[in-house]
């Protein structure tokens, strides 16, 4: 019965939505890349860069939104690198992605050590504060969960709407999806497949970095090593789970986050105290694997995902 009590409590859903927020940003970012035909395994490292860049900007005395902007730009930089290597040069997306993750992570840790050589416990910043939306936040359970969050969380939800609209209702979205399904057709229309794909990877990587920045600027309020902790890989699983659709991926992220919030709470019950805590920490990863297996039969993979396009080659 305890689990039921948890599930109807407002604090549980507030936590779930908060946990979901960085995943929503990064999942949308990965989704944009993959819909254009590029698997971006740089996601894990790009989230690390974003987390550091955003935090460092605010720590240096600039505003919170400037931090978000700097995080986004730093992500776009690594996106440009990833896109250049994988799209016009057609290098293995697996190898380049993992290389970008290693490069971004090690550059971040290097910069952190340079910037703060002496600290043992990382300094905190004045992070984003919850911003209750008048009237709506008064609704029981839903009010605190959905309408008493930080501005970045609201932005995450708006982002899903924007990504859906752009993907399915605009010429840009059509061209992007076509680049991931049938690049030759895009080329025949006189559009540049390389341009579209590089652009998509840059925008997607920028969003991944904002997802990382959420961790330092709206959740933990400071930067520490290994804080991304596999979230990027989980987002790749969420894209598959969401069948490459923004709305389904959003649902997946919230479900996943709810489960994560639940396992934290069960750990604190008498039942959970008898189980090694590692079992609970394993759950998110096992759940992601399970989701991949369940969804694999129905997945509609973009036809040209991981297929390099070399103009003039038939």
């Amino acid at each position: 019965m305890e689990i039921f009590d948890i599930l109807i409590s407002a604090s549980f859903w507030t936590a779930a939505i908060r946990i979901a927020s960085p995943l929503i940003f990064a999942t949308m970012g990965e989704l944009i890349c993959e819909r254009a035909g590029v698997l971006n395994l740089g996601i894990e490292g790009i989230m690390v860069v974003g987390a550091f860049a955003g935090w460092m900007t605010v720590y240096s005395g600039y505003g919170l939104w400037t931090g978000v902007g700097v995080a986004m730009l730093s992500g776009m930089f690594f996106g440009l690198l990833h896109g250049t290597l994988t799209v016009p040069f057609g290098l293995s997306q697996h190898v380049v992605g993992l290389g970008i993750t290693l490069l971004a992570t090690s550059l971040t840790y290097f910069s952190y050590r340079l910037a703060l050589p002496e600290v043992t416990s990382p300094p905190k910043i004045e992070a984003f504060q919850p911003l209750p939306i008048p009237v709506l936040s008064e609704i029981p359970v839903i009010g605190p969960a959905l309408f008493t969050q930080t501005p970045l969380t609201y932005l995450a939800f708006v982002l899903v709407l924007v990504v859906s609209l752009v993907l399915y209702r605009t010429p840009v979205g059509l061209a992007l999806r076509a680049a991931g399904e049938n690049p030759s057709a895009v080329d025949a229309q006189g559009l540049s497949v390389s341009g579209i794909r590089i652009g998509a990877v840059m925008v997607g990587s920028g969003l991944m970095a904002v997802g990382g920045a959420f961790l330092t600027m709206s959740a933990f309020n400071s930067f520490f090593f290994e804080m991304v902790n596999g979230r990027g890989w989980i987002c790749i699983a969420l894209v598959v789970f969401g069948a490459w659709r923004p709305s389904k991926a959003l649902l997946g992220a919230i479900l996943f986050a709810a489960f994560d919030a639940l396992q934290i709470r069960i750990q604190q019950t008498p039942l959970g105290a008898n189980v090694p805590y590692q079992v609970f920490l394993m759950m998110p990863y096992l759940l992601s694997i399970l989701a991949l297996v369940v969804m694999s039969r129905r997945a509609e993979v973009p036809a040209a995902l991981m297929v390099a396009f070399n103009k003039g080659e038939r």
Partner: protein, 349 residues
């Protein structure tokens, strides 16, 4: 722009581009070291000196190369068949756990019997860890990149649980570490008095065996065929799924030997920091070796040299140690680009 294959690349092109990639890597590393307050012109010298400048340094490099040869081979075998095993880290720990389970007194056998038994059991454990993602790939079409990556986290948590539970050393003063192996379960040193164990010998032998499998057996031929073109292989009557499963077993087994060799050869017990990412670094080793098993030995020595050398350089010059990872990531990205440009030329539209 588009890419056009070069029919006969010149020797100059084949050699100069990879060399340029390495030069740029060193240049960037020197620049970063300068930002950290070191003399940029001393960086390369300090790295080389730290990697091979003394007998101690060279042995350290060989020791560091040992697990990298195993994980590099594991990745090379898998990638050749286009099985994207990013989970060598998990398979390494599986091998390490078996080594501790069997080597801390459970089997009181003489060394000559005990060590091969442990090695084989460790390989089975590693193979088993990769079998599940490989099965999910062949049976349900689940992408193995994500599953193997996620399993790394699961297995590491499992090891942490074991080290705080059944494997915990009762004499460990509360630290999450295993008991020490019995002397019969330790890999002896190659030369008495020098800190280099037979794990290195086993790594060299493994590379030779993998080379034999790839070039002299039907399985090796089938693995290559599946990697080159899965549909064509299927059409030619090669049982693609069976080949992928066999590849997974071999790859997982090789990665597990890294765990066996680190525990039985170097450390003598198991802790959570047994591997500073040897599984992931294996990918770099394999790629720099063009997935060639003999090349893996060379590139593992190179990568280990960068690690050991950069470590020593960063201590001497006060540069953050992460510079080694930056250099490896740069070398990897620039090298795959350089290799591609030796075979293709860029044509402007």
């Amino acid at each position: 722009m588009r890419l056009e294959p070069i029919a006969n690349p010149t020797v100059t092109r084949t050699l100069s581009l990879p060399l340029l990639a390495l030069t740029v890597t060193v240049f960037v590393a020197s620049f970063l070291a300068m930002l950290a307050g070191a003399n940029p012109f001393s960086v390369l010298g300090l790295i080389i000196d730290g990697a091979v400048g003394s007998k101690f340094a060279a042995l350290e490099t060989l020791n560091r190369a040992t697990p990298l040869i195993f994980t590099g081979l594991a990745v090379a075998v898998a990638f050749r068949a286009r099985l994207w095993n990013i989970g060598a880290e998990a398979q390494l720990y599986a091998g390490a756990v078996i080594t501790v389970l069997l080597g801390t007194g459970a089997l009181a056998w003489p060394s000559g019997l005990l060590l091969p038994t442990i090695a084989i059991c460790a390989m089975f454990a590693g193979a088993l860890v990769l079998l599940l993602p490989a099965y999910l790939k062949t049976r349900f079409g689940v992408d193995e990149v994500v599953t193997t990556l996620l399993f790394n986290f699961v297995v590491l948590l499992l090891v942490s649980m074991l080290l705080e539970g059944v494997l915990k050393d009762p004499m460990g003063m509360g630290w999450p570490k295993s008991a020490r192996l019995i002397p019969e379960a330790r890999l002896p040193r190659i030369v008495e008095g020098l800190r280099l164990h037979w794990g290195f010998g086993l790594a060299i032998v493994s590379a030779a065996v993998v080379w034999m499998i790839q070039t002299r057996t039907t399985l090796g031929y089938e693995m290559r065929a599946v990697g080159l073109n899965q549909k064509a292989a299927q059409f030619a009557g090669i049982p693609v799924n069976a080949v992928l499963i066999k590849t997974a077993l071999l790859s997982g087994g090789l990665a597990a030997l890294a765990g066996f060799s680190e525990v039985a050869g170097l450390k003598g017990n198991l802790t959570l920091d047994l591997s500073p990412g040897f599984g992931y670094t294996g990918i770099i080793v394999a790629m720099l070796a063009f997935l060639n098993p003999i090349g893996v030995v060379v590139s593992a020595l190179f990568v280990a040299g960068i690690f050991v050398g950069a470590d020593s350089m960063s201590r001497a010059a006060g540069v953050p140690t992460y510079i080694a990872d930056i250099m490896l990531a740069m070398a990897l990205l620039l090298m795959v680009l350089a290799i591609m440009l030796t075979r293709f030329r860029i044509v402007r539209e």
